[in-house]
């Protein structure tokens, strides 16, 4: 275990150092993050002006959902996108060989090899939105409730990661799968709004097929103290299920890996 922690420390240390090699790029990235945050808040204010309700959610309650979406989007920018998109590059250029020849779990390496700090401000802002929205909506969290929020956030993150990793793993056969990840991102963007705001068929789709509901709406319901126990169990179960499927699929994909020719 110690070897994995030490590796992770060096992974992220070198990732940060690599990015700091290009100072101007870091500045531009930070500006881009700031602008994109302002943009998403503006969009939200258009849809949910104060005093308006959507699907039974008030403006402040909807802000909690937007907050969780922002946290997950920040996590995607920080970890998922830089790591999982490089799987495609590794397969195309044949450098996956070097990863597979290391005595360390290849999924661990490919999922956590790099980190992009440009996504961190988004995570902080998302958390701020959750806390502020929760306060305004009159939510009061006990330590147990807080732990439950963290568990559900973790479950949401795990579902997102597993879906993304599943798609990235198919690059072993199809090599280029950027389009598929873009579709996934578009679907996940629907998690900005409470699931109840969508028509019934979409609600079913977002709960059971592509579990967007568990990424944002369910954690927000936990904050507001109105989450139903079956949904919590279903969310946790789905998270574990998706992760196991992603893991097994990766092991299966590796047996079909043919390695790019020299």
């Amino acid at each position: 275990m110690g070897r994995y922690f030490k590796s992770l420390r060096r992974f992220w240390g070198t990732a940060l150092a690599s990015q700091l090699e290009y100072q101007l790029n870091v500045v531009i990235e930070l500006i881009a993050v700031g602008l994109s945050l302002l943009g998403s808040l503006f969009m939200l204010s258009l849809f949910f002006g104060p005093g308006r309700e959507l699907g039974g959610w008030s403006w402040h309650e909807a802000l909690i959902v937007q907050g969780f979406y922002t946290v997950l989007d920040g996590m995607a920018s920080t970890w998922l996108r830089p790591n999982l998109s490089s799987i495609v590059t590794h397969v195309r250029e044949g450098t996956l060989d070097f990863v597979l020849l290391k005595p360390i779990d290849s999924q661990f390496w490919l999922s956590l090899r790099t980190i992009s700090p440009a996504g961190l401000p988004e995570i902080v802002l998302g958390l701020f939105l959750v806390i502020w929205g929760g306060n305004q909506a009159g939510a009061s969290l006990t330590p147990g409730g807080l732990a439950l929020v963290l568990v559900m956030l973790l479950a949401g993150g795990l579902i997102l990661y597993s879906l993304w990793f599943l798609i990235a793993a198919t690059s072993i056969w199809f090599v280029k799968t950027w389009n598929a990840t873009e579709v996934l991102r578009a679907v996940l963007a629907s998690g900005r709004y409470p699931v109840a705001a969508y028509p019934a068929p979409l609600r079913l789709l977002f709960t059971l097929v592509i579990p967007v509901a568990f990424l944002t709406t369910v954690p927000a319901e936990v904050v507001l103290g109105r989450a139903s126990t079956p949904m919590l169990w279903l969310g946790s179960g789905l998270a574990v299920g998706f992760f196991v499927v992603a893991r097994q699929f990766w092991l299966y994909a590796l047996r079909h890996y043919t390695s790019a020719s020299s």
Binding site: G13, E93, G94, T95, D97, L101, P103, I104
Partner: protein
Amino acid sequence: MAPQRSLHPQVAHGSVVIEVEGLSKIYRVADKQPGLSGTLKHFMRRRHRDVHAVSDISFSIVPGEMVGFLGANGAGKTTTLKMLCGLIHPSAGQVVVAGHQPQKRHPDFLRRITLVMGQKQQLLWDLPPMDSLRVNAAVYGISDRDAKRRISELSDLLELGEELTRPVRKLSLGQRMKAELLAALLHQPDVLFLDEPTLGLDVNAQARVRQFLADYNQRTGATMLLTSHYMADITALCPRVLLIHQGHLFHDGPLDRLASRLAPERHVRLELDAPVGAEAFAGLGRLDSCCDCEVNLRVQPDELTAVVAQLLERFEVRDLEVNDPPIDQLIGDLFRQGKV
């Protein structure tokens, strides 16, 4: 033409580090016609065909041996190497490397082998090699003290100094290759798979890499299986060669036995002051091409001195070069002539 069976009869089973028996690999590849219509048809309905990249290969290698792996492009060298590393699952046959089945990629196995690829790099492009080495040390579970000692030993051998703290993108190809070798050897593997380790290097850098590999083998007794396009790599390092053609193993034995079959002719390139007809070169070796003032001949080694003397006497020669033909061409010739 049956492939040669070549298990070392003198080697007791227990002292073999690489054992390959009846190894085959079949790839399914897409069959696509050229042009837009071919692309559309391929997009709508994918057609595939089977390619036999490696067919029924058997050989074994004892610890400390340096074996050259020869073959034209697409002969199956890299596929075989990757099956030995465990990167590709064999379609049939048995492989045992360092007591392990490579395709299981057991951590104990991965700690004992390394793969160096001349055309791919594992070093982080934007950072000095030292950063990549520290990552590798952590991944292999090497303590900081051991890593420091090993890096200093290997960098002495490789003549690497301040290059280790300069970003990789600012290193020359030769320096980069040496740093790649350091990264690949940090965990002290005892089986080295080297795929074109000198590719693209200039003559001096090639010689240094070659010298390093020979020293490393002497010091550590590591086993090496090496592919190269440069005959000089193989002659300098490998007393034994495996020759693979179209997926079949055709030669397994000492290099000199193969070399005499492989390089019977030298290439002579002439640049003349004025154009001369092809007929003027009758009796002066085999004429490859004769275009304006440039003439290419192939000459038997024992006739070389006499032929060069005659060429200089008969023609106004501006420039004359004598070369060994490229290994690819030699192997191609060999097969065309049906000598194997």
